[in-house]
Symmetry: C2
Subunit: 244 residues, 2 copies
DNA sequence: CGTGGTGTTGACCTTTGTCAAGCTGGGTGG
DNA sequence: CCACCCAGCTTGACAAAGGTCAACACCACG
């Protein structure tokens, strides 16, 4: 499941995806591959402990995954969902257990932050710094939601943020296919699955959304959804890559 | 209250404090002062909007302050408390209103992140990147607490983290003098002042802490407090500078 | 076309928030 | 230096949001 290499042997496909992630900063992927790395290939449902002796960085090459903090006993908080091209920071020394888990079959590149920053590639610290600041912004938004928003607000907020990342438009209505389960949504929003389910029910009854199957959601009234979300600005902005 | 300058005229005292903050990375303060900056001098209780057209960075030169997110109507979430030497990141484009407010008379240096990163000082991106990753780690800890911890756990957690930053030892017992009000604590923990007050009461009744006056807390039984905090590791680790 | 994991819905309970009434102690002015 | 005063804190009674437990319904697989 985990393969470690310290120099190339990198398939062209890997280099190509890396280039796509690093292109904005113009960082040559070969430079990154000069550092030691691990490829994490996680099947749907599998997860990997982020051991945390030394900060690490993960590049999401494909799939959908979640960054999870565990609390004794049987509690967990999902810190972020991740998609193709995201950069995930896993600082060492946190006071809880951190894991990365695959929601859909995923492939990630695990690197050591210190080694990466010291690699000599001059644009890399800038690129990572910008990404880290963006991640910090997202993490704070989550803190605000978890600390001060009600269940309906959190669910509306969630739907809007997922729409910004996954939404496709069809005859003027946004359609989104949620890759994560109700449990994942609940663990991300600091709620229970029952509460999430009830909120979906309310939104459905109010004609704000329509659902089909377990995962498809159609946003019928974004205006109202946005009002329910207690956001000051429409939505966090278009997310190109990044996020963590 | 806000003074702007674009080149030195910097008092020696300012340079000296800057050196203390930047020393770990060996960044010469003169280099930073080549960028445009503003000195924010906030009297106790005053606050400043972080307008957010362009990411900014704040260096805490002195005092105690808080980073606050506002939600309509009358809700606020304190994202972090800040002390001498901290670096605070204020990313542009968040979906809520961000402010920095002084808990005690404070002095901060407000800089533009982009300009700073592009300043040419080679160690600056690394330094800021490390700080940003640390801040991200702290922000996630807060998200976990707000999303999945109970009121008693949050209060215990808070006391331990404040002890790690402000605590002084006296005959084997930690004494801490909290600079923030109960309302600040509540707004930081996603609770009400009444709940915070009741939790302090419980801890006092259980003999875990003793209080004296409005702000002095003596930790009588750190073992028990730590158990109540639902942390996996003792505490996040010694914080030297940083944090946001 | 079953079947089991996932999602929904309902009844009830716990935790925390709300409202209101007193208490306290730090700061001010006499 | 002391007394007063008021913001901030504490405590209590009650309400409400969300959690828990349990039964059922629905897909998405085989």
């Amino acid at each position: 499941m985990i393969s470690a290499r310290s120099l190339p042997q990198a398939p062209d496909e890997l280099l190509q995806r890396l280039d796509a992630i690093l292109a904005p900063g113009g960082v040559p992927s070969a430079r990154i591959l000069g550092a030691s790395f691990r490829v994490l290939s996680l099947d749907r449902g599998r997860s990997s402990l982020l051991h945390n002796d030394g900060d690490s960085v993960l590049l999401v090459l494909g799939g959908v995954s979640k960054l999870v903090a565990h609390l004794p006993p049987d509690r967990e908080q999902i810190l972020s969902f991740h998609f193709d091209g995201d950069v995930i920071f896993a600082p060492a020394g946190g006071s809880h257990i951190l894991m990365i888990a695959a929601i859909e079959d995923s492939e990630l590149l695990l690197l050591d932050t210190g080694e990466l920053l010291a690699s000599g590639e001059p644009r890399l610290p800038l690129l990572l710094c910008e990404r880290a600041i963006r991640s910090l912004g997202r993490s704070r938004e989550k803190a605000v939601a978890l600390g001060r928003k009600t269940a309906p607000e959190r669910v509306a907020d969630f739907l809007l943020s997922m729409e910004a990342r996954l939404g496709t438009t069809e005859s003027e209505q946004a359609i989104l296919v949620l890759p994560m389960s109700r449990r994942d949504i609940a663990d991300s929003l600091g709620l229970t699955i029952e509460t999430v389910s009830r909120q979906f029910g309310e939104l459905r009854a109010a004609g704000v959304i329509a659902t089909s199957g377990r995962s498809q959601v159609r946003i019928l009234d974004r205006e109202r959804l946005s009002a329910l979300s207690a956001r000051c600005r429409p939505h966090p902005r278009e997310y190109l890559p990044d996020l963590s």
